[in-house]
Homo-oligomer: 465 residues x 2
């Protein structure tokens, strides 16, 4: 992450928008509307507090709502929309891109939907009803119907004539799909190849048949990963018979991946639920609480196991209270290394860097990293004990060296097992067809807290008695 | 993250490539080369073990190296390149896109560079020497010179004639920059607008003057965030006088953000150093070790503070050993909630969801979330103690209720302070112009381990004596 990511070019635009919003003056809002990109409005909106946000929304005229609707949270657009007269509602709805329109419709209460769908022009109505058939997180739910497609068998001149009608509508016009009469994709042609060829050239001569496509019911993240892997501008979404249904564009891929990354990071840190569309400040305290408390509560009671283990070792701990000094270290070393290992493995899997076939190699690699870290850490700590621990703290029945050996051996065992647990839990989740990130890092920490206590006190008991 | 992200369309292509590579047969490798996308080769390459990888590289003929070079790690391409005769070296170098070429040159030892630069054709040599002036992580270091630009004052026909020479070269031809005689950007025109306008239309009429641009020395992540925010296909990179130097394309933005996300996740989990270009399996055990051991060692010695604190409370702990049962819970609740809070705040800052101005509101929000979580957790745990804790474990001098109140009060205080610490450390780092993610979550955990011990035993001492 950049250290100075405040200084994105045009930072002033966002500031300008925020100031206009906070002034509450509609005139000022309208004045800046011509100067800024809707993307700036989106960012400004994320930073407003709830009171200002609802005030701005409440007075936003329909033409501005229409201009910005693609960039504002669908729920906010929906809330404002309901208060507008039908003519203005139509204006806003028509301005929305396909996927935002569908988000909006899917997000509102079901009984409100028909009245809005009725307002749509014929074409958009069919499109939105069609798109609503796909769940939100699928390729179909994310695609737009505003793609560029032409029939096969045309000349360049005929193709350009057909495409001209899409000049303002198509989201991406640089990649054009050539369809057979049943709507199946035959190939793809670049607009530049049409623009720079003689008019009587058959499009087929310019066409590339090597085509990537994704099924409508596949996960939107797969679509984004394909766009990233193959450097695509638009990925066609097809039905089971390879008929073109829509496209997912490069900017959607960016949005999808940012969202999935956020969710992965949150899951790894033990934050549940969907991140949703709302920015941090837009999310209420109660929603934050709801997403976090589940894991906190579960882990607290899981930590009771460690407590009971600790309690069970009362005798050795109270007889050799010097053990208390190194207890947090042994325990924490497990959480730290297990968490590292889990993050490494979860992220590599998210990036598609390995597959179930390679799991053995991953575990083997982590095992070696674990033993290396455990051993070196043990040596450092044992030296610290041998040379820096005040002798008066060590009970007469044991030697400082014994303490050093007990702590060192515990660290090797604890770091090694924790690294393996950290790698194996996400790998196991993946093999069970679960999301690897579901095994949150704090859960791993809590688990290896238990093993750390057992390892440490067992070794001490063995050495001291 | 998708639960079935193995099933990316064309999974067979990656498998095919891996099998061909593992067979070691050059014929099979050449046979699959025509069928797969270089993006599949990239993924396959990430999954190979080191032995197979070097074997494949060693026998890769220059025409395949040239075809795939943009998708393979620059270091690998460099290693193979050195072993080729100059004619083939030239072939590979010429096939590289600008930014990969620069990566390759910057990655090799300085004394090797001139011989490779000499092999480049005049145009590419100037371009690469020019691009090498920018550090790797800047917009300039990431841009390509293969952009579409035309002089101002042309008609559509003249513009198309000028652009035709770029037909195969320009990475993005859908957005064309119009330059004044000094090379300053006057506006941007879409290829579609040229293609669908009459030939004598002045380009100026079709031009959009509302232009986003980024300075060459700005961080590459800022460029990626601008591309995401404004849904751009190509972001122009300019010098201080607004002269066009190159462009960063939408696919670069995806790559940059994925890389930055990986680094953020790793930092949050206490993994140091650069992630670099290498995939998980391509990274050696020693490199993994080096990136992780620093934090592990530092945190182990930091955990000694907790140990000394624990040791200092010997009297109360041994007199009331029942405290041991809830010690791990109180301590861990801090790490879990502090880690959640840090992740939330770090991620929101990375996404630009708030700025230094909003810090007060963030802290205030986290404070409320913290008090809410702490209180509810305290109630749950106090009830568990009151009704489920075996009475025989409670010493006669205190009541079960006192234990419940001590643990409950400690949980409230620990969760509240940890949530605040988790939010304030990244915020503080940001205000000190450091990367917020530098305050790794395990460091927060280790810190609040200390405060947890102090809080718990102080409250117990107060209540029991």
């Amino acid at each position: 992450m950049a250290e100075d990511d405040n200084s994105i070019a045009k930072p002033d635009s966002v500031e300008l928008v925020i100031e206009a919003f906070q002034s509450g003056s509609l005139e000022r809002i309208q004045a800046i509307a011509d100067e800024v990109h809707p993307g700036d409005v989106e960012v400004a909106f994320e930073r407003l507090d709830e009171v200002v946000r609802s005030e701005v929304l409440a007075q936003l005229p329909s033409e501005l709502l229409a201009e910005w609707a693609d960039y504002l949270p669908a729920a906010d657009v929906g809330r404002r929309l309901i208060t507008l007269p039908p003519v203005e509602q139509r204006e806003v709805l028509e301005s929305l891109s396909d996927d935002e329109l569908v988000d909006l419709l899917q997000g509102m209460e079901e009984e409100n939907r028909p009245q809005f769908i009725d307002l749509l022009p014929e074409g958009k109505r069919i499109v939105s009803e069609d798109l609503m058939r796909y769940p939100e997180a699928t390729a179909g739910g994310r695609m737009t119907k505003a793609m560029a497609a032409i029939s096969e068998g045309l000349t360049v001149k005929e193709a350009l004539d057909e495409l001209e009608t899409l000049r303002d509508e198509a989201e991406v016009l640089s990649r054009i799909f050539v369809l057979d009469p049943d709507g199946r994709i035959q190939g793809i042609v670049r607009l530049r190849d049409l623009a720079f060829s003689t008019w009587d050239t058959p499009v087929t001569e310019l066409m590339n048949e090597d085509l990537m496509a994704i099924g409508a019911m596949q996960d939107q993240e797969e679509a984004a990963l394909m766009i990233a892997r193959y450097d695509l501008m638009a990925l066609p979404v097809v039905d089971v018979e390879n008929r073109l249904l829509g496209v997912i564009t490069h900017d959607d891929a960016l949005e999808i991946l940012e969202q999935e990354n956020t969710e992965d990071m949150e899951k790894i840190s033990g934050i549940g639920g969907d991140h949703g569309e709302q920015a941090y400040l837009q999310t209420s305290v109660l929603s934050h609480f709801k997403r976090r408390f589940g894991w906190v509560l579960a882990l607290a009671f899981l930590a009771l196991i460690s407590g009971w283990v600790l309690h069970a070792y009362e005798e050795i701990l109270t007889s050799y209270f010097i053990l208390a000094i190194y207890l947090p270290m042994v325990v924490a070393a497990g959480g730290n290394t297990g968490g590292q290992s889990a993050t490494m493995v979860i992220r590599a899997m998210a990036l598609g860097e390995f597959d179930t076939r390679e799991f053995g190699r991953v575990i083997w690699k982590e095992a070696r990293v674990g033993i290396l870290m455990g051993s070196l850490l043990a040596v450092c700590v044992a030296l610290q004990i041998q040379f820096l621990l005040p002798a008066k703290l060590v009970p007469e029945t044991i030697s400082t060296l014994t303490v050093a050996l007990v702590v060192g051996a515990s660290l090797v065992a604890q770091v090694f097992t924790s690294t393996l647990v950290g790698a194996m839990l996400p790998v196991g989740a993946k093999m069970a067809r679960l999301d690897p990130a579901v095994v949150a890092s704090p859960a791993i920490t809590t688990l290896v807290d238990v093993s750390g206590c057992i390892i440490y006190f067992s070794i001490a008991q063995f050495a001291f008695h």
